[in-house]
Symmetry: C3
Subunit: 108 residues, 3 copies
């Protein structure tokens, strides 16, 4: 048994949790904050069988890999009508994952 | 030394923490969310001596075991006077517990 | 690789996180609550190379060691003009630190 902890961007968290649960894994979500940027992120923890660790890491990679996306910035107010916001290329995603040995697991 | 982490329902959390502290154990509480139901639950973590793990697991079982309870649902508003809420049988409780080895522990 | 978790007072948390990040370490902050006093505290987690554990523990000691400080209690309202608050000696700080082995670490 291992405990997998993944620190991911809030932008990817919903998609990841849905994928993890649909694959039949169990998971708990903890709100967290980055030490450097001090912005909110999400820590997902899941205690799973050793044989499933690879599948879970693959799910995290499929849903949270660092990538560039074309995003339309949210510009509010009057200007938006005159100058429609241009799409810009932004780097999103990324996950920091660590796997810790579990000495004992039980459902009470 | 081991780190015991228990994910329990908010319904049981207060009772459990009181029992853990009264037994002389130290514990920290972290608010968390279930991945499947997306409802709030409580993650309790406690670094304790190996010899105490059994006692802590017994406390968790005594306070959080999955069971059925007769609960009176909270029906507010005018109807409550005419149709007093019946007691219904509800499944509550349950705890997911994992124990992780601790390589080093200190109080600074 | 090890996972270092430090539970510190909110009073010291900002200072500690700044020092950890300035030293080039990575860290995530999780809001938590003490089981005994039920007051808010801060859990900092950092996955770091084995060789860096000593340096991180030294940073925690330098920023969170239990000590007495002379603090001026915040007395608001009219009384403050007539009776300037005396400085009092208060015990602050303290950190509970545990180090857990990491079986696998990756940035995705
Ligand atoms: N070894 C580890 N242990 C515990 N938590 C970890 C960790 N590595 C990463 N994290 C968590 O993951 C978030 C994203 O890290 P990432 O490396 O993608 O992206 C990082 C990294 O590229 C950079 N960064 C972080 N710390 C740095 C430092 N001390 N010096 C220079 N750059 C840093 O800033 C980005 C945002 O960092 P932030 O702290 O706000 O948010 C971090 C932190 O919450
Ligand atoms: N191995 C593990 N690693 C990390 N956290 C764990 C875990 N096992 C359980 N948890 C945590 O404990 C809560 C209660 O789990 P339980 O198994 O009693 O009760 C679960 C279980 O009976 C069911 N369930 C959870 N995930 C499922 C899935 N992928 N497929 C089918 N049923 C699921 O729904 C109930 C509520 O789940 P929810 O996710 O909202 O809330 C979960 C989750 O926060
Ligand atoms: N082994 C462990 N595992 C997990 N978390 C741990 C831990 N040891 C300490 N903590 C966390 O660190 C906080 C400060 O602990 P400290 O030992 O400095 O200071 C403690 C200690 O001096 C005392 N205390 C705690 N539990 C006690 C108990 N069961 N009986 C008597 N005194 C207790 O009250 C202070 C505040 O405790 P509080 O629980 O509010 O807050 C605790 C708790 O959140």
């Amino acid at each position: 048994m291992k405990l997998v902890a993944a620190i991911v961007q809030e932008y990817d968290a919903n998609k990841l949790v849905r994928a993890v649960v649909q694959a039949g894994f169990r998971a708990t979500i903890i709100g967290s904050t980055g030490g450097f940027l001090r912005t909110g992120n999400t820590t997902l923890i899941s205690a799973i069988e050793d044989a499933d660790v690879g599948a879970l890491l693959a799910l995290i990679a499929a849903n949270c890999r660092e990538r560039t996306e074309m995003l339309r910035p949210e510009i509010v107010g009057d200007y938006a009508d005159w100058y429609p916001p241009q799409e810009v290329e932004v780097i999103v995603g990324g996950a920091t994952v660590f796997v810790v040995p579990v000495a004992h697991f039980e459902r009470i």
